[in-house]
């Protein structure tokens, strides 16, 4: 087995015919994200292959598929938790080939995690302030010596953090330890922390997991509200079909690492391949 770390070959920027339905207001604008021939192998296993997708600047897009289809892996490729084996990621027309996780975030991609990854020992407010790390800046020296830059920075960070927490009405929880929050609140805090980094593309990995129907409905409203107030694109992975069909403008269906369908919620609902992937092949009698 060729376990040698291979350098990804420089990719040619071949345009990929995108079958995505980009919302009308975004037509004629360059997509915020474009993936071309994206793929990754783990040893012998091809987890994602030939992943082509474009997302409009203010689109809410969905990525669905059965368990183990490779959805989270796509997020990990976009945020450079893994380096792609093949293909190109264009963020706002910019190739992210040479970037690492930190640089991709600074370039405009923020995410949440399927298995929640909060800073458990920090307070809710401090979690958001870590998200503001590159938005409200002052040096270590300013902080240790409590120079004016520190006080100014902390005041702005506090105000911004409270403002962001108010999206989910979480201001009252600001002093609580993040790790002690209930599950649903932890998921919402992850979204707030991601938003604090001022992204142009927000990736949500199963944001409604473990939420009851009324919470899910509230979350749907909030995702739309976030898109409308921040004018950003959202790509979300979700198993809850009511959420996906309710708010996504374009949907991409993944099975065994390959895209099997793309289109509007209506088209996806009636696609025989999608039905087969989710419900299994109809047995011939």
């Amino acid at each position: 087995m060729a376990d040698r770390v291979q350098r990804r070959p420089a990719t040619k920027l071949v345009p990929v015919p995108s079958t995505n339905k980009i919302p009308e207001r975004d037509v004629d604008k360059t997509p915020i994200l474009e993936c071309r021939h994206l793929g990754i192998d783990f040893g012998g296993l091809t987890a994602v292959n030939e992943f082509n997708m474009a997302i409009g600047r203010t689109e809410i897009a969905g990525l669905i598929g059965p368990n183990g289809a490779g959805k989270t892996t796509v997020f990990n490729l976009l945020t450079k938790v893994y380096q792609p084996t093949r293909g190109t990621i264009l963020l706002d027309g910019l190739d992210t080939h040479s970037m690492n996780s930190v640089q991709v975030n600074r370039a405009g991609i923020a995410r949440t995690f399927q298995n929640i990854r909060l800073f458990g020992n920090l307070s809710v407010e401090d979690n958001v302030k870590v998200g503001l790390h590159n938005q409200v800046r002052y040096g270590m020296f300013q902080g240790v010596c409590r120079l004016p830059g520190y006080w100014r920075g902390e005041r702005v960070a506090h105000e911004r953090a409270m403002e962001l927490l108010s999206i989910f009405d979480m201001q009252d929880l600001a002093d609580h330890q993040a790790g002690s929050l209930p599950y649903g609140a932890q998921r919402r805090l992850e979204i707030v922390r991601a938003l604090a980094t001022n992204p142009s593309l927000l990736l949500l990995d199963e944001p409604a997991a473990g939420m009851n129907p009324s919470e899910t409905a509230e979350l749907m409203d909030n995702i739309v509200k976030i898109r409308d107030t921040f004018h950003i694109a959202v790509l979300l992975i979700e198993h809850d079909m009511s959420l996906v069909m309710g708010i996504c403008e374009g949907i991409c269906v993944l099975n065994f690492g390959e895209i099997i369908a793309k289109g509007t919620p209506e088209e996806i609902k009636n696609d025989p391949q999608v039905i087969e992937a989710y419900l299994g092949k109809k047995r011939e009698v």
């Binding site: 938790v81 975030n105 995690f113 399927q114 298995n115 870590v130 790390h133 590159n134 270590m140 473990g210």
Partner: protein, 361 residues
């Protein structure tokens, strides 16, 4: 601002406690009088308290393990003390010379920390523990074989063999003499200087922790991948914590040796590193006043036992005390008591909030 006062209450209690302890000891010394044994321990206690605080910054705040912090103490001790001897005529004022020497010791230790951090801190795992362990041993050998002299023509260095003494011109002195270490040190450290170092260390650590950089350090400790996903350069902030800690350890080393007349490299060995780690673990990771208490108490303990002629039971009593302290610091009742006093209790989440869903992934 009410919020700020509440958040910083515990910090101010710690500052106040240190200053109060200092004043009480001073008053006691002035009226009743301290035994010379205790008096000789005051500076070492300050040095070990600083060491424990510095290591706590690495272990408790940034979540990395260092098994060679005595190595940084050693670097600071040798470079700082050598500088003090070299500057004897240039800076006649002893407290100023002490401050300059400690700053030089801190700078050299910080440099050592930086050089170790470059290859190690970009890795994810327990590599720092292994590398610092090796560093502590290497530094010990280096200072056991290093000869540094100073005369009118400047510094002279040699390694393994002492060729420095013969090359020294008239009026020159041997600063570092290999296995003989440094001798003829003028005792310029004082209890006051020690307390100032402890307070300075506390200010640096508390202010760092409650700032943008400190939050980044703790975020990287709690979840490295998440910290990177929000744009925190984890290596940079781990380095910041580690170098700051090394510098403080270097200053403590300088303070410590300048309270003795001679110092040898073997004083700063693996046992010393582990002793400091014991202070930190015992006082509680990330808990600064805990480090202060455990470092002071455990530095005093062997001497107290000697005084009461329990010398032969020293290790036994030491072990028993360790066990008792661990049991006590883990008692929920006492924790609650301490948290109530310092106002640092962690609030529970409100009861009306929803039940947890099943974990996924």
């Amino acid at each position: 601002m009410k919020r700020m006062t509440k958040k910083n209450r515990a910090n101010f209690l710690t500052y106040g406690g240190v200053i109060l302890a200092y004043l009480l000891i001073r008053v006691y010394d002035g009226t009743v009088g301290l035994s010379s044994m205790i008096q000789g321990l005051l500076v070492p206690i300050c040095a070990y308290v600083t060491m424990a605080l510095a290591l706590n910054l690495v272990v408790g705040v940034s979540g990395e393990l260092s098994l060679g912090h005595a190595g940084f103490m050693s670097v600071g001790a040798f470079s700082g003390t050598a500088a003090a001897i070299a500057l004897q005529n240039a800076i006649p004022l002893a407290p100023l010379r002490l401050a300059v020497a400690m700053a030089i010791g801190a700078a050299f230790a910080a440099l050592a920390g930086f050089l170790i951090g470059i290859p190690v801190l970009r890795l994810n795992g327990d590599y720092l523990a292994i590398v610092t362990l090796a560093f502590g041993e290497i530094i010990k050998s280096v200072f056991n074989n290093l000869y540094v002299g100073l005369d009118a023509k400047g510094f002279h260095f040699s390694f393994l063999n002492d060729t420095v003494s013969s090359r020294l011109g008239a009026g020159g002195k041997l600063l570092i003499g290999g296995p003989m270490g440094i001798s003829g040190i003028k005792i310029i450290s004082s209890f006051t200087a020690g307390i100032i170092l402890v307070l300075l260390t506390l200010v640096i650590i508390f202010n760092l922790v409650n700032s943008r950089a400190g939050r980044a350090i703790m975020a990287a400790r709690d979840n490295r991948i998440a910290a990177e996903s929000v744009g925190v350069n984890v290596t940079k902030y781990k380095m910041m914590a580690f170098v700051t800690s090394a510098a403080l350890a270097g200053a403590a080393g300088g303070l410590y040796t300048m309270s003795l007349s001679t110092v040898v490299a073997n004083k700063f060995d693996f046992n010393t590193s582990i002793l400091i780690l014991v202070f930190v673990v015992l006082g509680g990771m990330g808990n600064m006043w805990g480090s202060i208490l455990s470092a002071s108490f455990l530095t005093l303990l062997p001497e107290l036992l000697r005084k009461f002629n329990l010398d032969q039971y020293r290790m036994l009593v030491y072990a028993i005390v360790l066990i008792i302290v661990m049991v006590v610091t883990n008692s929920p009742f006492l924790q609650q008591l301490v948290e109530n006093v310092t106002g640092r209790f962690k609030k529970e989440a409100p009861a009306e909030a929803e039940e947890g869903g099943e974990g996924n992934g």
